[in-house]
């Protein structure tokens, strides 16, 4: 059940809140998700990134604004808000304004299907993960327009390279998600998690799934333009790629969406491969609903934030790929691997009738759980 329906049933008996129509609940949930989760979390992710970068490079990182620099991201946001926002005279004004909209839509709309806990998912679509792939493929369009509209040779090349990179890394991402769908058998995000259990996560289902998880993580890293794959923003060559001409709040949107997409990648990885809100071997389905949902949300968030930490860790340790190495990596390493995982998982399921390694071990040991 999706969050708006869950809240409506919860507040059915209340005098005032009982009569509110369902779409008003979803409106409230959407605004809550955007303003209470997406923007603050993106800001905190920026702060985390700079702290981790500082730690890796043996320096302190932001610690001036607020205790340990926690309010640094608010200061950044306000600064960007007050910065002058120029549109270059030679730029194509309409496209210049349209491009951040497309990119924001592509990045933010994926949050509608992220399952934080049992009933806490904004839209319980039957085609959850497929909708997510469809929506994130819109970002490539926004990048092309952004690069083209700013009428700047480097941002044009940066935009084209970013679009080519996102477009070509979408194939391994889609194939690895398809491999996970083969194992779980549904596209509905909450159902994907329910098909797993605290004792058998998808990543251990069969060896090919483990490889598929790694390939997914790497390819999704590249799709979000994160180092070591952030060729478009390669400061040495392309100044700052497609968002050279953007300044002020418009640039903040590009910046914010990059971190929003990073969290989407980690959330999808936890949902598909790491068993969503299930603790490793502790079954908490017996607790009361009111207690279980916060715990599940915390478990889901800890897994996602750990993956986010790994992403940031990678960013400040690995050097950047060249463009031809990047394309060669995608088409000559990741795509063959994901095809192999797809066929391997299909063969494994045909052989063992859909049972994974955990189930086989349990049936051997006679637990039969």
């Amino acid at each position: 059940m999706s969050l708006p329906e869950f809240l409506k049933d919860l507040f059915e008996s209340w005098p005032l809140l009982g009569s509110i129509p369902l779409w008003l609940y979803s409106l409230a949930c959407i605004l809550g998700l955007l303003f209470l989760f997406l923007f603050p979390f993106a800001g905190i992710a920026v702060y985390l990134e700079r702290k981790i970068a500082g730690d890796i490079q043996a320096r302190i990182g932001p610690n001036v604004v607020g205790p340990y620099g926690i309010l640094q991201w608010i200061a950044d946001a306000l600064k960007l808000l007050l910065k002058e926002d120029i549109i270059p005279a030679a730029a194509d004004k309409k496209l210049f304004i349209l491009s951040p909209m497309l990119i924001f839509l592509g990045g933010a709309a994926a949050y509608a299907v992220i399952p934080f806990a049992e009933n806490v998912i904004l839209a319980n679509l039957n085609i959850g993960i497929f909708y997510l792939i469809a929506v994130t493929s819109m970002v490539a369009l926004g990048l092309i327009l952004g690069g083209w509209a700013s009428n700047n040779k480097w941002s044009l090349l940066g935009g084209m390279r970013a679009a080519a990179q996102i477009v070509s890394f979408e194939i391994p991402v889609a194939l690895c998600i398809l491999t996970a769908v083969l194992v779980t058998g549904t596209l509905d995000m909450t159902q994907i998690i329910k098909n797993q259990s605290p004792y058998s996560w998808n990543i251990f289902h069969n060896p090919f799934m483990f490889i598929a998880a790694c390939v997914y993580y790497i390819a999704a890293l590249a799709e979000a333009n994160r180092t070591p794959f952030d060729i478009p923003e390669a400061d040495s060559e392309l100044v700052s790629g497609y968002n050279t001409e953007y300044s002020g709040m418009r640039f903040a949107i590009f910046f914010l969406i990059e971190y929003a997409e990073c969290f989407v990648i980690c959330a999808v990885a936890t949902t598909l491969f790491l068993g969503g809100w299930y603790l490793p071997f502790i079954d908490i389905s017996g607790l009361a609903l009111g207690l279980r949902i916060p715990i599940e949300a915390m478990v889901f968030m800890t897994k996602a934030v750990c993956l986010l930490f790994v992403m940031m860790w990678i960013r400040w340790t690995l050097p950047r790929y060249r463009v031809d190495q990047l394309m060669k990596l995608c088409w000559e390493v990741l795509v063959p691997f994901s095809f192999a995982c797809l066929l391997g998982t299909a063969f494994w399921m045909a052989l063992f009738k859909g049972k994974g390694i955990p189930e086989l071990i349990y049936s051997l040991l006679g637990w039969g759980s």
Binding site: S2, E5, M101, F104, A112, N126, N152, F339, L342
Partner: protein, 134 residues
Amino acid sequence: MYTQFATILIFLIIGVCMVPLILLVGKLLRPHNPDPKKLTTYECGEESVGSSWVQFNLRFYVIAILFLIFDVEVILMFPVGVTFRQWMTSQAGKGLLVFAEVALFIGILLIGFAYAWVKGDFEWIKTIRPQKKS
């Protein structure tokens, strides 16, 4: 199903009008004094040379072709992937038959992938040959 998609529609509407809202808030708060010097396109400080709608060769396009063909293949595979588990767990006899169908579908397209690989279409051409001036 309609309620879920209604939520998605509301989300998209809010998403679309969120960016102008933020920019509007920004527009109210920030200074606005455009001067021609500031509005020139940024080229590391030098004067920008020539129009930027520069021409580039076709390797971006080859990438887009490969993406679209394999995207369509993945899309055809998604419904099959969803019911794959049912076929495997329930009808015992047909397990390998369904796997053969899926393997044939993917195998045919892997031929195209191998062709593109052997013909070296994945290499990102390092030297850009001068455009043939007509």
